[in-house]
Structure formats: C-alpha cells, structure tokens
C-alpha cells in the first residue's frame, strides 16, 4: 500500500494515469508524444507505477502496452469506505459535479 501512495504522490505520474484512463493500452512512444516530459522521465514514472501495480503491462508482439489498473485504489477505498458511507459519498460527489458544472452550462 505504501507503494501506491508514493506512486500517486507525484503529479506527473497522476497525469500518466489520466492519459491511460482516456486511452488505455498505450506504448511508451504514444505516451511521450502527448506529454511534455523526456522519454527517460516517462519510462521511469511508468516503472514506479508498474511496481505499485497501478499500471499493468501486456506485450503484443514487440509492443509493450500499458493499461491503467485501478484495483489497488479500489482496495484502499474498500479499507476505509464501507458500504454505507458509499451512497452518501456518491451523493456528495454528484452534488459537487453538478455545482462545478453549472458555470460552464450557462455560457
């Protein structure tokens, strides 16, 4: 679990996870093209994410594809958020989304 928190503590690594959430199964090259980071930096961050099990890797032929693996985050949520809190938290998250979306909708 320490690995997961350490991996998530870095904004560049969170950005990489966001990129995979938008488009799963990208190669290192795909990820580098869309980010303002050196290839070495992206490669290093991916290794940290992989070690924390937040990124799963699949080889397809000679291509190494990276997939977002949210299971460890789900396990953390299960540890501190029980069944009963969840519906209340979902309601709060919905409210937050609705309130934050409003200015954009009016424009």
């Amino acid at each position: 679990m320490d690995d997961v928190f350490k991996a998530l503590a870095d904004p560049s690594r969170r950005e990489l996870l966001d990129r995979l959430r938008i488009e799963n199964g990208q190669t290192l090259g795909d990820l580098c093209r869309r980010l303002d980071m050196t290839r070495q930096a992206v490669s290093k961050h991916l290794a940290v994410l992989e070690a924390a099990n937040l990124v799963a890797v699949v080889w397809q032929g000679r291509e190494k594809l990276h997939y977002l693996n949210p299971v460890p985050i789900h396990e953390i949520a299960e540890r501190w958020i029980g069944k009963f809190e969840r519906s209340r938290l979902d309601a709060l998250a919905d409210l937050k989304r609705a309130l934050e979306a409003k200015p954009g909708d009016d424009e």
Partner: protein
C-alpha cells in the same frame, strides 16, 4: 474455434492474493465461490478446452454464455464472453476474458484481461470496467479472510446503453473484417 490472436486487450486488471494458485483457480471455476463474489452469479463450466461456459442468474437464466478457449489449471483460463441477459448485448461480438494465475512470492498475481475483436467504443468498455474492480477485490477478500465484500450493482455509466444500441444498429465489426 476462436483464436486468441484476433483479440486486443481493452481492459487489464491485476490483483495480488495471499493464497495458493489452486485456491484461486477453484474460486474462478466453482459456483459456490462465484455466487459469493461475482454479483451472485453461478458459474457452470465444462472442465476442458472447447467446453461450454455460462454464468447463471439466481433464477437459473444465463447472464453470460461462451466457450472455454483454454483450460490450464491452475494457471490459465480463457473463455469467450457473450452477455446474454441484457437487451441488445447478444448482437455484439463475443469478447475474450482471460485469467492468468502466476506465483509471486508468498502470493499469486491474478490478471484479468478483457479483449475484443473489434474497435469497441470507449462508452461500452466503461460499462465492463465499473464492475471488475469490485469483483476482483471481493474475490481477494473471500480467499484471504473467508468473507466477500458487500458489493452492489450500480447502474451502467451514462451513454453505455446508447452506445450498445448504436453499435448493434451500425455493426462496425463487419466493416473491420473486410479491411
């Protein structure tokens, strides 16, 4: 027979479980286990490559049907996966669900891969993604503590059913096959 090569992974989920590979395998293929962690569904599977595979609702109707593509206890299970219990879904091409069990120190690493033979829209993929982390976490909890997690079935994400309807109406996989 379905060949694995036609399928490209769309979702890959990994969890580490403190259990023996044989115990994880049993949890995947034994209905008394799946009933506890897989939204109450019972697995009905012929224990051989080429056999039939189904996930049954509590009333005995099939929610998922498919064929066993690889039966390699306690390492690898591949099945084709056709959702039968939801309107429109039986018209979509079957996907391939693979479970891989690898020893990892005192644990096992369980990888679930959902692969598709066509460029499946993101909106449909999201529907599957919302359920798997709950299922895998509950499976882990069941094997490690003897108790599954309380999981609740959520409504499919926005746009999911519309995306399925659109795919069924336009059948993009037929165009891809020609190309």
């Amino acid at each position: 027979m379905t060949s694995r090569e036609r399928f490209k992974p769309g979702t890959v989920y990994v969890t580490y479980i403190a259990a023996a590979p044989e115990a994880v395998w049993q949890a995947l293929v034994d209905r008394t286990f799946t009933q506890q962690y897989f939204f109450g569904l019972s697995i009905d599977i012929e224990p051989r490559t080429g056999g039939a595979f189904r996930l049954l609702m509590p009333d005995g109707s099939a929610h998922v049907t498919g064929d066993v593509i690889a039966w390699e206890p306690p390492r690898r299970l591949d099945v084709t996966w056709q959702v039968a219990g939801m309107k429109g879904f039986d018209a979509l091409p079957a996907c391939l669900v693979s479970y891989e069990i690898e020893p990892a120190g005192a644990c096992v690493r369980l990888t679930m891969t959902e692969s598709h033979s066509w460029a499946i829209p993101e909106a449909i993929l999201q529907g599957g993604r919302s359920g798997w982390p709950q299922i895998l976490s509950s499976l882990k909890s069941l094997l490690e503590t003897g108790k599954p997690l309380q999981i609740e079935k959520k409504d499919p994400p926005a746009g999911f059913l519309a995306a399925v309807e659109h795919a069924v109406a336009t059948k993009p996989w037929l165009r891809e096959d020609r190309g």
